[in-house]
Symmetry: C2
Amino acid sequence: MIKVAIIGYGNLGRGVERSIKQNKDMELIGVFTRRAPETVQTEGAKAFTMDELKGKKGAIDVCILCGGSATDLPTQTPEWTRLFNTIDSFDTHAKIPEHFAKVDQAAKEGQTTSIISTGWDPGLFSLNRLYAQSILPVGETNTFWGKGVSQGHSDALRRIEGVIDAVQYTIPNNEVIDKLKAGEKLELTTRDKHFRECFVVLEEGTNAEKIRAEIVSMPNYFADYDTEVHFITQAELDKEHKAMPHGGTVLHTGTTHENTKQVIEYNLQLESNPEFTASVLVAYARACVRLAEEKQYGAYTVLDIPPKYLSPKSDEALRKELL
Amino acid sequence: MIKVAIIGYGNLGRGVERSIKQNKDMELIGVFTRRAPETVQTEGAKAFTMDELKGKKGAIDVCILCGGSATDLPTQTPEWTRLFNTIDSFDTHAKIPEHFAKVDQAAKEGQTTSIISTGWDPGLFSLNRLYAQSILPVGETNTFWGKGVSQGHSDALRRIEGVIDAVQYTIPNNEVIDKLKAGEKLELTTRDKHFRECFVVLEEGTNAEKIRAEIVSMPNYFADYDTEVHFITQAELDKEHKAMPHGGTVLHTGTTHENTKQVIEYNLQLESNPEFTASVLVAYARACVRLAEEKQYGAYTVLDIPPKYLSPKSDEALRKELL
């Protein structure tokens, strides 16, 4: 049995707890939290303080870090990798090289193994970009996200004065996807690829048109997109928009000779983004433990990991059943 | 530069020649053939006899074997793996364990590396079955093929007395695919998943209805499917049905908790099946050479290979650009 610890218990941590129950070769040792453990409502797992983690070195095969990329993981992953094998879902694309270097150093010093930036993007989408571009080097890759809730954009809406609550959906332009799949050559701008749809709850007396103007012109988040804004009540938001669906498509269109078109498409349709991301982390936790058993210490990403290491099955069974 | 030899020059071998031209880190040493080399019309590559291959041990980094799975590869792959690193597309699913064992032994004796059964199924589809099932263990995988030309089924038609020429298309049942993607639970028979469509040229005076009855009741090939048969002229067949499109879908529908649905879909839409398969072989040829450089001798499949080994780019570049 692979003994797993969950570090941080929000939506992702809860997803990991659920995923471990689906994997018969895994056992959850506990949830480690900065909160008072007795206040954490798990689905059966024991909760411990973060301080108690240090004393469990022999009892844990791998820690799955479920904190956020902004402030938690940049310090937590290197710190815990000195003592434990770790998995994280660090997803600030621009800072991955820096994060990788820090975790790699910690892992080599601690003789541990860490797989960083797992999940679906970065993660499964990265893998598909790599496979597609390696196989069809003459071609073009486009990634589309959605339809799904973007936490970053929803947070940006909630920071606006006068906004009580908000949810933002990223919506891919399916017309563009269909044209690309049909082999059309397109020069695509940011605005062409995705739409943004916002559901916003306002404080009473707030000027809705002023807020709408502020949203659609917000740099980085909305200014470069066609954005629709709907003002609704908190009750409507709670009823209709509190699920966390997401997904997306990696589309690679290549040519092998003259004008012979070849299309590779990878598509995710997720009813729960955190539960799916958690499932990816758990599969890579298995790979992480195997690498550590082989004394392959250091930091890795999904691009480095032999696919078979994700499965509990033997090489022979995989060749027989899946090849 | 990776120095590549092509063994056998049919549609697949020609596809490999074309693919190597798209990969700037590769150089084609030549085509090795059982035919008289001067009769082989390559697209620029030098043609040699098969006997000349033995003398080129130092001059070739990897041989891409482009023969058929029925009679060529079972003997050729073990034979040439004693001398060279090799790649093949052996696709007789039931005999892969046996083929693997023979090639593995040859590779270990010859201190070479071989990656067998590459291509898209087995190959990329196998990878996607593995990733999907490892990430969502509570779920179901279905593979659909087509729309595309099945060589095996076309050959079966051509063996019928009175048939001059024929092409068979495998057509996936898109209605079933859509239902699965929507989360429906279906008990699927062979007949539910694919249709078969045949275009057949008859000798003059042949009884078409008798041939139709023979086709639709042919065991293994057509009896378990809904099959449509069209009788056309050779001119029509040559004009409309001599391309070799193919493709298909690996669809995994899983649940992460209670009834939370997650769908993973991998989809290929190929205008040329042999050219695409060739492109996969060429990418794995790169991986094969790297494994051999690391002295990782033996037989491997796509399930064993770290994804980054397919790319000519450095680990750092891949993390920066693709993760």
